[in-house]
Amino acid sequence: MNIRWYHFALWAAFMAVMFALPEFVSRGTLRTVIFANFLAIFAISWDVLSGRTGYISFGHPFLIGIGAYTTAILTKRFDVAIEASIPIAVIVTMIAGFIVFLPALRIKGSYFALVTLAFMELMYQLVQVIRPDLTGGTRGISGIQGITRGAVNGYYLSLTLLLVVAVTVWLVMRTRVGTALSAIGMNEESVRGSGLDTTKLKLFAFLFSALIAGLGGAFYAHYVGAIAPRALFDINFLFTIIVAALIGGAATTAGPIIGAFFLTFLLEYLRPYLPGAERYFIYGGVALLLYMYQPKGIIALLETMKDRIIRRSST
């Protein structure tokens, strides 16, 4: 593991700033941060699978939705305690992650992406027609039991979840497994040629990604309090996740977090000035320009800036 003391110092500084945030910002801003935290979790989950291994998933909302629906159905319809429903939701999502993994044994590239998109579409249709008494059909499920109440508590819960996920992913990606996953993204045949079992490695990536998606989806359902097929198994939701990961910097841990915060705040801060659909044009335009200017994302821009500052201070 290539870990230095200053890595922990940076994480500690980030945590300190984030935990102190409620002292300095309004409750309205905290609500925006909560959505950014959840988007960051979803983007990290997508990045573990697609950013690292290169298997682009267009079906990530399928996994997030399964986590959300499982815990919602268990708590709302069967009075299962949240303490039990969330772990069950995560396990169910991991099983779904295994199902998504199966096509990856045979296909890759755009074919794999399309198959995963089909998973999402299939789930969109199924939740509306199969047992609508449980899923709520097209209207979804409202009045899902909350874990916290109020902006501050919701913020601390989502932040804790984000930090646990981010630090875990960061640590895992610094092990040899993480290195091998990134190598698969570069050249899978070479990794296989070097004697590593790429099937096992990919399975690990799919299950790990599903674990995060299930965890995020389950907590998200309890935070929002209402879920609907149109909100979860939706192409806009999918693109928001992917754009957050790409614009922040794919195949990094900090990148999806930065991307999620950037996109969420950009959209929310435009609201008072452009209350209608116009803000989505600005949002899309800024995202496009940024991505064209630096395809490696905001994190690459920040690193360039850091290098310049170091160079200037050393001369």
Partner: protein
């Protein structure tokens, strides 16, 4: 010193003036006829109230939060209004699943909220089950159950009684509203109206070619098509006309609720009939509602050129919400406001007859036809001659010459139900 004192005084005056405002939040789509109807109805009501001195002497201002008809954006929009804008009252032009998405936030923040478009009976059930946390919520459109119940009477009186039709094939879009209406219609159309449902054909809202679906409908041998369409409704109806489908079609077509329908279908909209909440296009208006429409049309030139029913609901509903707040001493005491809101009762007459009524059902008041309660729901009447309130819905029909009129209930009819000329 004098300068400092004057500046301080000015700051205090400004702060007092800023505080002396009643802030209304609009939640809904800013790019749909539905959302704009509510928004504009509320804007006109606020202008009139402010011109008359505001609410308890305080001027009313409005801020907007767009939902883009997306449930997640609905949650964010409600949070924005509640915690960033800190509004006193929220008026909603949201569609069903968006209202359901922000409902937990409404329960949490306890902000008085009036829904003018959503008609889902499940929300009224939530009021029945949890009156405490649902106290700030009111829905001033008749619930979908009430709409469907009266539609069954149209089935019995006109479709079966006058036309002699005995079977239908349902052509319904795959949406929450489509599912609810389909369920209600199939449950009751057979046993009450004596019309059998032969098949239910569901289609995706993005469908652009309806020819195969119309062929399938014809193959069922049913007497007529019952359509349920709220999204891209002009597509299904214009294709029905252009293909000259040799079967009558009626049902729910939200596209046909606006005056732009004829233009949207390129003039291919004749023969289409739809149930509509009241007031609808082709519905005769009482003097007060007509005055509202005149003001609306003088003020706005873009679509919708005529407010949809929810525009009327917003106009009258917002005034009622302010009147309730005046009596309750503001919106702060939600229970007091809720109690006063329940007492609001505006009766609008036309030619000496009760024409429209904006009031709410009592908490324990049982509606005779359905045998259930509708707390916090708009008052409606399901029984002719509609002396207690207006009917929960009317059926309107677009004719082949581009005119539109009400065909049912007969007391409100301005024209007769007819089948298109190409249907033999």
């Amino acid at each position: 010193m004098i300068k400092v004192t004057a500046t301080s005084a000015l700051a205090i005056i400004c702060a007092t003036m800023a505080a002396a405002e009643v802030k209304v939040g609009f939640i809904g789509s800013l790019s749909s006829d539905t959302g704009l109807s509510t928004l504009r109805g509320a804007e006109i009501a606020i202008e009139e109230l402010n011109a008359a001195g505001g609410m308890n002497g305080e001027q009313i201002v409005m801020v907007t939060a767009d939902t883009s008809e997306d449930p997640t954006e609905g949650v964010k929009a409600y949070e924005y209004l509640a915690e960033t804008e800190e509004v006193d009252f929220i008026i909603s032009g949201s569609i069903d699943d968006v209202s359901l998405a922000w409902m937990p936030r409404m329960q949490e923040f306890q902000i008085p909220t009036l829904d003018t478009w959503t008609s889902y009976i499940g929300i009224i059930d939530m009021v029945v089950e949890d009156p405490e946390t649902m106290a700030p919520y009111f829905m001033n459109i008749a619930s979908d159950e009430a709409l469907a119940t009266l539609y069954i009477n149209f089935g019995a009186d006109v479709l079966k009684g006058q036309m002699g039709w005995e079977s239908t094939v349902i052509l319904a879009e795959d949406t929450a509203f489509g599912e609810a209406i389909t369920g209600l219609i199939t449950d009751a159309l057979g046993p009450v109206a004596g019309i059998k449902t032969t098949e239910i054909i569901k289609y995706d809202v993005n469908t652009v070619d309806f020819a195969p679906l119309f062929s399938r409908a014809q193959e069922t041998g049913a007497d007529f098509i019952y359509q349920v369409s709220t999204v891209n409704s002009q597509v299904v109806s214009s294709q029905y006309v252009k293909l000259q489908v040799p079967m009558p079609m009626t049902g729910v077509n939200v596209g046909a609720l606006g005056l732009e329908y004829w233009e949207d279908t390129g003039g291919a909209g004749g023969g289409i009939s739809t149930l509509s909440p009241v007031p609808s296009v082709g519905f005769e208006l009482d003097p007060v509602s007509q005055s509202f429409v005149d003001t609306y049309q003088a003020k706005y030139t873009s679509r919708p050129v005529m407010p949809h029913f929810n525009g009327f609901n917003a106009y009258h509903g917002l005034k009622q919400a302010m009147a309730a707040a005046e009596t309750a001493g503001g919106f702060g005491d939600v229970k007091a406001w809720s109690a006063e809101m329940k007492k609001q009762d505006l009766v609008l007459e036309k030619d000496g007859k009760l024409w429209l009524r904006y009031g709410f059902w009592g908490d324990d008041e049982v509606e005779e036809v359905t045998g259930r309660t509708y707390p916090h729901n708009a008052r409606f009447d399901l029984t002719s001659p509609y002396e207690d309130a207006q009917p929960s819905m009317v059926v309107v029909q677009w004719k082949e010459d581009g005119s539109v009129g009400v065909v049912y209930p007969f007391e409100y009819a301005t024209t007769e139900f007819t089948i298109p000329s190409w249907v033999k």
